[in-house]
Subunit: 427 residues, 2 copies
């Protein structure tokens, strides 16, 4: 048991640096947990001589060289769904090395392939840090919520989006203004597309759905909508109806197949997901008879993410070697997607219209034609002839029917902006 | 990998029956997760011929006989901190069998001893079902929140108490009335002492503290207070101040030692623990730099608890064999308790007094003498000469100082009931 676990790092940014520092500072207690020493035998990053707050040792210039080195585990923190991250992961597994990664894009695309490769070699592929930062949701879905199956997973998986939505609510300011502030504060990337467009949430949701349903992660059947079109008005109306708007990754097992999507949704105030503020992440998993489970924690940052990587390393040191997605890669099913638009929920709808006679009749007529029935409505008066907002909450309706009705309504010359539709997601 | 894991059950009540049914109904998927079949080779319970909804096979009359049988794992669901549960667990480990148990009382008293025995034999001792039902908090503290250490654990660990407090708040009725209803509905035991007196929470807290601090579970240095003295008036005042009353198990690492206690506490409305309703359980663990983690789920019942036992069995089938409390039993530290009363917090105080001149001056005088300063106060008028309630929120104060002040105040002939003190616990 005293042979060290030899670890090599490809990538020494926030996550990698955090892991190195924690391994150095807390080596004694981590050795007790791992049952043997955790030894760093290789480091590699874009720039060797950057100031990092720790000593760079065992440097190599080319990450691919790590696969040929004497490490037992490669920690892949390069990023990107193909290219060097994929090449290194494949080469590492081919040459008998475990892989720990925080790379959701890589695994959302190649997770099943890499899991199969790992299992064929008797190796571990671990990725706790790829989803929801420090929250042990990957391990929980893989090893804990297993006896009754999981029917639904809903997650707040992108801290940047949740921070922006929380700030929009707190200040009443627009998406653009809050995003720009977040960029200045370093809470959002210079190019925020992957975050605010929902792509990052999609990668993470694909992994959670794979774990929950014993399924090959699948980005090809996943509608993805970001938060750029959410207005302060929508957030204010949501509050008036007793809801908060959150960007959710949603995966549900339905009678017609798996329904997975990334979408801003109305979440009822006072339920756990609604109360998740700022950069925190959270996941609600409904495990059939075993009921709902709720997990919340920091979604990003050095310590939460490094914590997740270290938990994976300790698992490997201990010989905890189960399959990456909880069942053998060859038994992972392929996604049978629920037909597009077959999901049923209530909706929040907002129409910006000219304040002229007949506009409400016209909108109501189109909704009725598609059997979309209205539960409640708010219309706020403004100065005569100015644009006004008509806001409705529908009864439960097929998504496709609402989409069809809105398509026709959008063609009206009395409707001056694309209608906004946001589903209400129950607990 | 195809040799089955042979399992024997001592106890076939709600938990054991649930595990047997799930193993029978979902054998294929559980075999995929476990990497090998999970085979039942022994069953034992108080009564053989009770109707249970599944076939009883491989019956033995004496639970102790299971230790001599051919099982790989004994699932101990007898209950009780000594007696047959302890004898069976020791005999099972002595004869080379892993032990899975839901028995918090047993482990709170003998956890470190049984862990050491298991490790000396290279065996697993697992107890996910012992704390917070289906919530994977034991695994998360043991394997996931490990890189930075844990400083605080706060939990709502007893569903009966949380149900009673939730009902008292919803209906305005007294503890006795709500308890009596809960007993009729089967939500509370005929003898509710272990639940409402805080003892069950204490057992669970001892295990969480052991896992969080790498410590021998210790019931001897843990003040325990139940909920029987909480009045509808306290709950109403709490709401007025923006708080809810919850029975918490609290374990904190402080500069003076570990402060662990079971106590009704004021939890700020809108924070995750305050929103835990009914029979749900929840745990907030603060993992230093990695931040707060929050877990919520069903705390009891067949499926949640059976789910936890099955997760432990699958871990053992896979060979996940780390030490019971995360670090080797011989390195578990002994509790260094923080001095009694050294904890600091704000307090809710309620005095039932005669409405006569000078009573407030007298109370205020005694509080001032012990340096307890008041942040806010409510006094409600009633008919002249009737008893009135004086309610105060203090600034942060040492528990011992408040206790000393109240002791003197209770002696006053103007104070007609023992004063009520409830600490405010921040997130």
């Amino acid at each position: 048991m005293t042979r060290p676990l030899k670890i090599a790092f490809a990538g020494l940014g926030t996550v990698g640096g955090g892991v190195v520092k924690a391994l150095q500072k807390r080596s004694e207690i981590l050795e007790a947990r791992a049952g043997r020493p955790l030894e760093i035998v290789g480091m590699c990053a874009r720039s060797r001589h950057k100031s990092r707050g720790f000593e760079v040792t065992n440097w190599v210039d080319d990450p691919q060289a790590l696969a040929a080195g004497d490490a037992d585990v490669i920690v892949e923190l390069i990023g990107g769904e193909d290219g060097p991250a994929l090449a290194l992961s494949e080469a590492a597994l081919e040459s008998g090395k475990h892989v720990v990664t925080a790379n959701k894009a890589l695994l959302a695309r190649h997770g099943a392939h890499l899991a199969a490769l790992a299992e064929s070699k008797g190796l571990a592929l671990r990725f706790e840090a790829a989803v929801a930062g420090g929250i042990p949701i990957v391990k929980s879905l893989r090893e804990s919520l297993i006896a009754y199956g999981v029917v639904t997973v809903r997650g707040i998986l992108n801290g940047t989006c949740n921070y922006i939505l929380t700030q929009m609510e707190a200040t009443g300011r627009s998406f653009e203004e809050v995003l720009s502030d977040a960029q200045h504060l370093g809470y959002a990337e210079a190019d925020p597309t992957l975050d605010v467009g929902g792509g990052d949430t999609a990668h993470k949701l694909a992994l959670l759905a794979g774990l929950a349903f014993g399924m090959t992660p699948d980005l090809d059947h996943m509608p993805v909508e970001g938060i750029a079109h959410i207005s302060p008005e929508d957030i204010a109306f949501a509050r008036e109806f007793g809801y908060r708007i959150k960007l959710l990754g949603i995966a549900k097992a339905t009678a017609q197949g798996i329904d997975q999507r990334v979408q801003p949704a109305m979440v009822k105030a006072g339920t756990p997901l609604a109360d998740v503020d700022g950069a925190f992440n959270a996941v609600m998993a409904v495990a059939n008879d075993a009921g709902p489970f709720f997990f919340e924690g920091r979604g990003a940052g050095e310590a939460p993410t490094a914590n997740a990587v270290i938990a994976d390393l300790v698992d490997i040191a201990r010989g905890n070697m189960g399959p990456a997605f909880g069942i053998p890669a060859h038994s992972l099913i392929s996604l049978s997607p629920a037909p597009a638009g077959s999901a049923v929920s209530a909706f929040y709808l907002r129409f910006q219209v000219l304040d002229v006679p007949g506009v409400l009749a016209e909108i109501a007529g189109h909704l009725a034609k598609w059997r979309v029935s209205i539960e409640s409505m708010i219309q706020r008066g403004r100065a005569p002839s100015e644009a006004v907002s008509i806001v409705m909450i529908t009864h439960e309706t097929k998504h496709a029917d609402v989409q069809r009705a809105l398509k026709t309504i959008a063609l009206s010359d009395k409707v001056i902006a694309p209608p906004c539709m946001i589903p209400m997601e129950a607990r």
